[in-house]
Symmetry: C2
Subunit: 249 residues, 2 copies
């Protein structure tokens, strides 16, 4: 049984301003909730389930009807969790050793979620976002990331610092551009930044000026004019990790 | 100005059974409509636009309010087209020369649309689908494919024929499996079939028995358990085309 006030609170978390005010977000679906329950960085505050739940978190049994009311998904899941938004961590990656992503104006929640999952798959721990990017705690982003938000840190504040640091230490800044060098012809570094631009507008002029290596994904007898941002990120990350995976794997 | 009957007709095309009955589908957004207007395989029957339209197709000017009523998108576009579903083409690819995709139970429209776009980018002309896959003319698939449906042929009928032919002619059948050989350790052929499975259930036992080469995408220090079907397709297709792109590009 769930009260009207609770329904109202949960639904309010679909809006960014309410998430920010309450430092809470919702995660839906068995796989994602399970991953977050194991996370050391994200605290699961409360669980709502229409089926059985045997975990050790505060829990409310709800009906399928009630789940429909609180879910942000078209097909409501059996389980949903309210989680605490972790404190922003100001630790910046060491870009002389690590590769991090920069996302410029990625507005589609599904794309951002997929990019987080890709980063996680390829061992990238930090993603820097411009303020135009969709909020990582948007329910659709959380959903598409499939639990990877527990392991990849999204940072909406320190993009300028990291870019300056990169320039200062002469770490490479890769940017995906239509007129870049084919990734098959460029020796890709294992550290530095990789900037992914907005699908329609590409990388903004403001960020373009930081790019030291413009790269592109070649097409093969193809007709498509472009790839979506998440697809491009998948192919680029696979290529950046290729040498290391070949020699270590 | 658009009549109530027209609105009803257009909205009815959001359902597969109506699309099949009328052999029509809707395509929304400037880029997609432009690509379809140039297509030789897909005929644009009628255009609805809230802005200017200078093409040579039957055209109805609509208000933004009216566009909202006929659009299947959350954010209605300025332009929409009603297109004719082309006759199914029974020409099968020559799998001793070409690479084609097989999709097993891909139900998410965004994923299918992205996969079509990826295929187009990497010059793959044929995609065979199991009957469980979402319909290619679903408005969300059309939207996510960004016009690539004009260049890539989806075939929901000839999967069995192509698999038998493949077995008969001993063309390779690749399948993405968690216990497969790393794609970085396997010499990938330039022809044959590549099977992509459902994200939750993988490739069905029925299709698994046709696989001659089980392959997997290696991860790098990663935590994500899996990639979504579209991301996996992107990385796999890039790897299949890698040698050809390196030598030809």
């Amino acid at each position: 049984m769930i009260s009207k006030a609770q329904i109202k609170l949960i639904k309010s978390l679909q809006q960014k301003k309410n998430r920010e005010q309450m430092h809470l977000f919702i995660a839906e679906g068995k796989k994602i909730v399970e991953e977050l329950l194991q996370s050391t960085t994200i605290e699961v505050v409360h669980v709502y389930a229409s089926g059985n739940y045997f975990g050790n978190r505060p829990f409310t049994q709800v009906t399928e009807e009630e789940m429909k009311k609180i879910s942000a998904l078209t097909t409501p899941p059996n389980i949903m969790a309210i989680c605490r938004i972790p404190q922003e961590n100001a630790i910046l990656p060491d870009l002389q050793k690590e590769l991090a992503l920069v996302l410029d104006d990625i507005r589609d929640p599904g794309n951002l979620g997929s990019i987080i999952r890709i980063a996680d798959w390829f061992g990238i721990k930090h993603i820097f976002c411009t303020p135009e990017c969709v909020d990582v705690y948007n329910p659709k982003v959380v959903q598409a990331s499939m639990g990877s938000i527990a392991r990849v840190q999204l940072d909406y504040k320190n993009l300028r610092s990291i870019l300056s640091e990169c320039a200062e230490k002469q770490s490479p800044v890769y940017g995906a551009k239509l007129d870049g060098t084919s990734i098959l012809k460029e020796k890709l570094s294992t550290h530095g930044l990789l900037i992914i631009g907005n699908e329609s507008n590409g990388i903004s002029p403001e960020l373009t000026k930081y790019i030291t290596n413009a790269i592109k994904i070649p097409s093969y007898q193809g007709g498509a004019e472009s790839l979506n941002a998440a697809m491009a990120t998948a192919i680029l990350c696979a290529e950046f990790r290729r040498e290391a995976m070949r020699t270590e794997g």
